[in-house]
């Protein structure tokens, strides 16, 4: 099986699993335990926290809490800082943001959605125009999970704070953390990340936040994470994140360059009479979003699956028009007919050139077969 749906989840990194195994078998203690073993484990958690944080942020200014996933991190950001006035966000957000701001809308907070450019990056001018003195939170996705489009969030945060210095700026970095070179600058206040997109375990995420911010919990209990997020820590999961991070950031540049090569190869070799690239130039090396003319994305996905290639799709065989087409693809200006044909190939550093070549063959073959039937 060739796995190319790494933007959905990655295979847990075997090295990270092996190294973290000791936290299942020997160091299984509760980090809140008052005995020496618990205390030491707690210190190890703090060192993991620092190691992960330092990959993209200055430890003197920022701190990090562990959560259960990227979605929880996004929810924590919105429910903490999008509570009054208005929230400004983009049409390119993951549903972890869109659904959460919609919940805030039901609770009386105004929500303003900035449109996207044709390349699915946010229209910065339009976004800035939505910010006013009542804006409490601005949230802009770093790398779009469907097209791989990259928003320059440091710059956008700077410009946003020029409009209103009191806003809190959040970015969903789930598809960028450990994948593209990036450091948080001072204008970004909050950053969400997830372990299982980079070889860590599912069930672990984190929210990086400025130390000066008062982060209120919405999970109460034993006071873990300095009271900001209670619940016994998933030490094993956290350690897989730490080890996966270590590897990812060490090879960030080399991995990125190799994957860009794979993307180019695919773009070159895929049948041009069927496939059209949706991902913009300079998008994430990890995501290649395509439209396959006359081929409904999900059908192509099933056909590729039957041939041993696992990919993602932006559309679904859904009778509900609201869930049928990708919001992001439509917001980027594509029509429903195109949105119906979108597939997403997403790589990991484990992806090999041979796999890419084989995937091209399978996609060309399946799409041709399907397109012929659609005539």
């Amino acid at each position: 099986m060739i796995y190319m749906d790494n933007a959905a989840t990655t295979r847990p990194d075997p090295d990270a699993l092996r190294r973290a195994e000791i936290y299942l078998t020997e160091k299984y203690f509760n980090p809140s335990g008052l005995y020496r073993e618990g205390f030491e484990l707690n210190k190890e958690l703090d060192s993991a926290r620092k190691n992960i944080l330092s990959c993209i942020a200055d430890e003197e200014i920022f701190d990090l809490i562990f959560t259960s996933c990227g979605t929880e991190s996004d929810n924590t950001a919105v429910f903490n800082f999008g509570r009054r006035g208005n929230i400004v966000t983009t049409a390119g957000e993951h549903s972890a943001i869109i659904s959460t701001v919609n919940e805030q809308k039901n609770r009386g907070v105004e929500v303003r959605i900035a449109p996207l450019n044709g390349d699915s990056t946010v229209n910065i001018e339009a976004l800035l125009d939505l910010i006013d003195e009542k804006t409490s939170l601005v949230s802009v996705i770093h790398v779009n999970n469907e097209t791989g489009a990259i928003n320059d969030v440091n710059e956008i945060a700077r410009l946003a704070k020029e409009r209103n210095p009191r806003i809190i700026f959040h970015t969903d970095g789930v598809q960028s953390f450990g994948k593209i070179p990036f450091r948080m600058q001072k204008h970004i206040d909050l950053y969400s990340l997830s372990a299982h997109k980079i070889g860590g375990l599912k069930g672990i995420g984190a929210l990086i936040f400025k130390k000066k911010l008062l982060l209120r919990p919405f999970i109460f209990g034993g006071g873990q994470e300095k009271g900001r997020r209670s619940g016994t820590e998933n030490v094993f999961g956290i350690k897989t994140l730490e080890y996966a991070c270590e590897k990812k950031f060490k090879n960030l540049k080399a991995d990125g360059e190799r994957l860009v090569g794979y993307k180019d190869l695919m773009e070159r070799e895929l049948n041009p009479s069927i496939f059209r690239v949706i991902s913009p130039k300079n998008s994430s090396p990890y995501i290649l979003c395509l439209s396959a003319s006359k081929c409904r994305g999900e059908i192509l996905l099933h056909m590729a699956d039957d041939e041993g290639l696992v990919i993602g799709t932006g559309s679904a065989c859904s009778s509900n028009s609201k869930t049928r087409y990708s919001r992001v693809i439509l917001a980027s200006g594509y029509d429903e007919a195109t949105a119906d044909t979108v597939i997403r190939i997403s790589f990991s550093p484990e992806t090999t050139r041979e796999e890419v070549e084989e995937a091209v063959k399978i996609l060309n073959r399946s799409a041709k077969k399907l397109a012929d039937k659609m005539v």
């Binding site: 059908i299 099933h302 056909m303 699956d305 679904a316 065989c317 859904s318 009778s319 039937k373 659609m374």
Partner: protein
């Protein structure tokens, strides 16, 4: 004082000489529904009693019995010896503490020393003395305490009637094969026919890779919902992908649905004969969609040679069907947005009143037998308990 559940049956009492057959099926179905819960099922005159069960399981038992066709009503009762002191004690323990009430007594044991009216008056009086918040209202009571004095020296005291699903015991009216989609209608059609006592199994057509696995899983869930009223059923799944592709390739676009349905009915009849089903059942409702016109139905009927096709919903409005779907517990599953039939091949303008000549002409372009044979090779059987 012991808790028992009284089961009163629906139309069984109409049955004459074959009543025993119906009663056996009925009690078997009850036993099947209560599998895994320790209990005893006792037949008494005109009713059944569930007894010797763990009182903690009462709610579970009632909820399972609510799905056994043939049950008219149920009551959770206290069984005591037929002495006024014990009856009074039971009445006190089930009575509300305040409100308007009455006591209604039924005396099957004609040797009991008091008349029904006297028993009601005495028990009512005791309740009034016990709870100051009570007042008697025999015309519009807020609740009623029922006292049922049986012939065997015991009395059942209860205050509520739970509605059963009515109908006839499943298995007493033959076997039918339901063409089930992932929509709202077909499970309702199956439920209605099962309610009349027929053992209904299901046949579903899918067209992977044009439809997804979730759509198939949704049908399994719908079949499970129907199965919960029947004590299990068989779900057959057949792929019509090749048939859809062949129609798309060779035939007029506007006949896709008409021709596909003719294939489905042919496959259904052949399967039904192999599996000893005596009829086909569909959820068609006249005029609901383009294929459910009288012409569409005529076209489908004409390929079925020997079996009757039951269409219990034919005269129903969509709203009526939805009400029944909600009541049987299928609606939430039916409205999940997975397509059960591939829409990529659906014509923009399907033939609403296709002429038979036209249909036959187009169908002649296909290897009908070959395609059906191929479809049969994909058959999958899922036994739902």
């Amino acid at each position: 004082m012991e808790k028992v559940i009284i089961i009163r049956y629906a139309e069984l009492f109409l049955k004459g000489k074959n009543r025993g057959y119906f009663e056996r099926a009925f009690s078997n179905n009850i036993e099947k529904a209560l599998q895994g819960i320790s209990h005893e099922l006792i037949k008494t005159s005109g009713r059944y009693l569930v007894e010797n069960f763990d009182v903690e399981e009462t709610e579970k038992i009632v909820s399972r019995l609510k799905k056994v066709f043939g049950i008219h009503t149920m009551s959770i009762a206290l069984r005591v010896s037929s002495s006024m002191a014990d009856i009074a004690e039971a009445a006190k323990s089930i009575s509300r503490k305040k409100g308007r009430f009455k006591v209604e007594t039924h005396r099957a044991d004609k040797k009991f020393p008091m008349h029904s009216v006297e028993v009601s008056a005495e028990i009512g009086g005791l309740l009034l003395e016990t709870y100051r918040g009570l007042s008697v209202d025999i015309h519009e009571p807020e609740f009623t305490v029922y006292v049922d004095i049986r012939e065997n020296g015991t009395t059942l005291v209860f205050s509520e009637f739970f509605e059963g699903p009515n109908g006839m015991p499943v298995g007493t009216a033959g076997r039918g094969l339901l063409l089930i989609s992932g929509g709202i209608d077909s499970p309702v059609a199956g439920h209605m026919i099962a309610k009349r006592g027929m053992k209904v199994d299901c046949l579903h057509f899918h067209s992977y890779p044009y439809t997804n696995m979730q759509a198939k899983e949704k049908v399994v869930d719908l079949a499970k919902t129907l199965a919960s009223y029947e004590g299990g059923l068989n779900l057959y799944i057949v792929s019509v992908t090749k048939i859809q592709e062949a129609i798309h390739e060779h035939c007029a676009e506007d006949l896709m649905v008409t021709l596909l349905r003719r294939f489905m009915f042919r496959i259904a009849e052949r399967l039904a004969k192999n599996t000893s089903h005596q009829c086909l059942i569909t959820g068609e409702s006249l005029g609901q969609v383009a294929s459910q016109t009288i012409e569409g139905m005529t076209s489908s009927n004409s390929v079925v040679q020997d079996l009757p096709i039951l269409r219990p919903l034919v005269g129903f409005d969509k709203n009526e069907i939805i009400e029944r779907s909600v009541a049987m517990g299928a609606y939430e599953i039916s409205i999940l947005p997975y397509e059960d039939c591939c829409t990529v091949f659906l014509p923009k303008y399907p033939a609403i009143r296709p002429k038979m000549n036209y249909i036959l002409e187009e169908e002649a372009k296909l290897d009908v037998d070959g395609l059906i044979k191929e479809a049969f090779e994909t058959i999958e059987k899922i036994e739902i308990k």
